[in-house]
Symmetry: C2
């Protein structure tokens, strides 16, 4: 049996021991004594704290290969130039791009990510090799082309069958790009397929004002109302963005216990909108999670940074410094993501999946350490993340990831080719 | 002569050498060959880039001792509890608090900071020992008490005389807390004193809507109009915040070439306002700089983080992803701060003060490195800062600061006493 014993680590204001057996946290108590025949890996937790792994609930991982390529453009010009780059994607680019994303996510303490991109097999291979828990969407996007729509259904069935061999840390899910890029028939088919096979559905909703205006013009209702008429909402839906919602949209999402992934950095940087109704959504019954979106729009995959920006913007536009609490932020960045995938994780508690980070608190960001949560969210950066355990395995130890040098080198080579046309 | 030669470092898209002699950058060129008798300290710049030191143009450095102490409160309650803590300040708290601030600023690449706090001699001693360039305000704050006002004038003259022995890296300046906390007589006296002795004046203006409303009620005009009537504006004024300005206020500040320090994280977190008129101020002639404000309100002193939040919020509230450019951001975080103090610095150019950072770019945040500035502002965190040179001296080498352990330990002890009443 694979076991890890973390000794004398800071948790909830005091020092504790944590035992991990196989892929679960099996014990959390002040002083764990094991029988002599047990030989766990021992981690010295002194001067360190343990936090749950972060869940990045909306990203397009392989877009790391486009980091910084398109900046300071209007949304329309930016989208066009990204699409142009995406025409050149292939398995190799997605494989190495996803690997770089995994390096970055592990270094910033993320243990679960919700991906929606192309060349799914390459993304799964990359993430599984890195030992990070990934939910990979088979993406429906047909732009109303009936032939394409049919082909995607066939490919979806095939990929679903293949996904049975993906292994422990890869989750197959259905991706519906958005209500405006997937035909009604495919939205319904995909959601039925998901329900039949117990799969989650990952969809963009309410990202821009344009999307709302177009939907009102074409369907005479909001995107949420349109999708509600198709009967898709349930606790198995993970909706990214949800910036542009009416009060009644919020009620629909809440009544159906939908999961929403809020991506503040992307929404700010692309000027899509920022008045995310955090408390109203929570109040209505929505499970609010956090995401980074792809690196092409938000430039990094850092959920710690996302927690801080989320809080600052909520406080500012509400004109209320108490508009969001530290525990709400931390839960939205950790256990709410696990809950969206019906996983027992995102908390340091006995029985939970052993997805966690050991962080350095013997530094200026945590000095003084009167309020650990405030220091974590508002003062520290992700470089405090030292060691990451995912699914019971050490996937980063003292910031070292075995493959990192090779991944940086491959991405540099491929990006030069993609972005500058240089081989 | 003290000299440092940085070899093969990334600057402006190519590899270069940089020679520092005494406290200036004396040469920047591709390949510097020195005569054999020269024995500079050599720094290997491969895999690294050089950037100008950041200028944190508004802070209350010693407030590090209150990090995380007061969170998620309404502005009014927050202010009251901070003032209550400040009643207990003394030389020892300010000394160690400022030292911790200097550790944090050096670790995040700041080489110049503009401070406004109490126990100025202790702050000067702390900063000078750490080798960071600090501008220290003698703070006028009298709340209309004429005796206090007179005593402050006397103390100001005395401190000014003492400041002549402060040494190379400490700058004496006049601090006027704000128009609503300092009597007219003292504002005029302090600004005249500054003009007479060639000093800068550091003042809070337009931080909250309440301040604006009160001024309109009491003086029948905006704070800027009120201060303009007193004739204080000039290129020697450094005004912190300036969130609540009228169009005509902007013109007044621009016409007088005032320097403005924008503190977005503090403004967001305290819900003071966020619609900072960056482009209008620049257009009118204002020198826009960036600041963090004190740790009690913004929780850290990280100017890299401040650049990113500034950009995101400008883009968002303007509804324009091209609302601010990368070069504007970087200049506002570096050379504009030096310019405010009439210092030749904040740029990597021959003749400039040798205040700079060597940063690691051989990591995921800078991969790919198609757009260095975008990676610096939007992707990386301050842990990329490796080595900091201030006034020609290495003040942090490979993230090592000699006194750091002692400083953390002292602040922990003092904060426990201040915040929890434990000795």
């Amino acid at each position: 049996m694979n076991s890890i014993l973390i000794k004398d680590i800071y948790l909830g204001g005091k020092s504790t021991d944590i035992l991990i057996e196989n892929n679960r946290i099996s014990r959390v108590c002040e002083h764990i004594v094991l029988p002599p025949e047990c030989r766990p890996d021992i981690i010295d937790g002194r001067g360190k704290a343990v936090i749950p792994g972060f869940a990045n609930m909306h990203t397009h991982a392989a877009m790391t290969i486009m980091r910084g390529a398109k900046e300071d453009m209007s949304l329309h010009k930016w989208l066009e130039s990204i699409w142009k780059l995406e025409e050149h994607l292939d398995d190799e680019l997605v494989y190495w791009g996803t690997k770089l994303a995994c390096v970055e996510m592990l270094k910033t303490g993320t243990t679960l990510f919700n991906d929606q991109y192309f060349f799914i097999e390459s993304a799964v291979k990359a993430a599984s090799q890195m030992g990070i828990r990934g939910a990979h969407s088979f993406v429906f996007i047909d732009l109303g082309d009936a032939d394409k729509a049919m082909m995607q259904r066939e490919a979806c069935i095939k990929t679903y069958e293949e996904s049975k061999n993906w292994g422990d840390t890869a989750i197959f899910e259905i991706g519906i790009h958005a209500a405006y890029t997937v035909c009604e028939e495919n939205i319904i088919w995909a959601c039925n397929f998901a329900a039949e096979h117990g799969l989650k559905v990952h969809i963009h909703i309410g990202e821009t004002s344009q999307e709302l205006q177009d939907c009102l013009r074409i369907h005479g209702c909001t995107p949420v109302e349109y999708l509600d008429r198709l009967g898709i909402f349930s606790p198995d839906i993970i909706a990214a963005h949800c910036i542009w919602l009416s009060d009644s949209d919020i009620q629909v999402l809440g009544r159906n216990k939908v999961n929403v992934a809020h991506n503040i950095n992307s929404n700010l940087k692309l000027a899509s909108g920022y008045k995310f109704k955090f408390q109203e959504l929570v109040g209505a019954g929505v499970n609010v999670c956090l995401g980074t979106d792809g690196v092409a729009s938000s430039n990094n995959l850092d959920i710690m940074e996302t927690m801080k920006t989320t809080a600052l913007v909520q406080k500012a536009w509400r004109k209320d410094p108490s508009a969001i609490t530290l525990s709400q932020l931390i839960e939205s960045a950790t256990k709410n993501g696990y809950r969206a995938f019906s996983l027992e994780g995102g908390e340091i508690k006995e029985g939970m999946l052993a997805d966690l980070s050991i962080i350095d608190i013997d530094n200026y960001s945590f000095t003084p350490n009167i309020n650990f949560e405030a220091n974590l969210v508002y003062s520290a950066h992700s470089d405090c993340i030292q060691t990451v355990i995912c699914n019971g395995k050490i996937v980063m130890k003292d910031r070292y990831i075995a493959e990192e040098r090779e991944i940086l080198s491959q991405v540099r080579k491929l990006s030069r080719k993609l972005l500058l046309g240089q081989s």
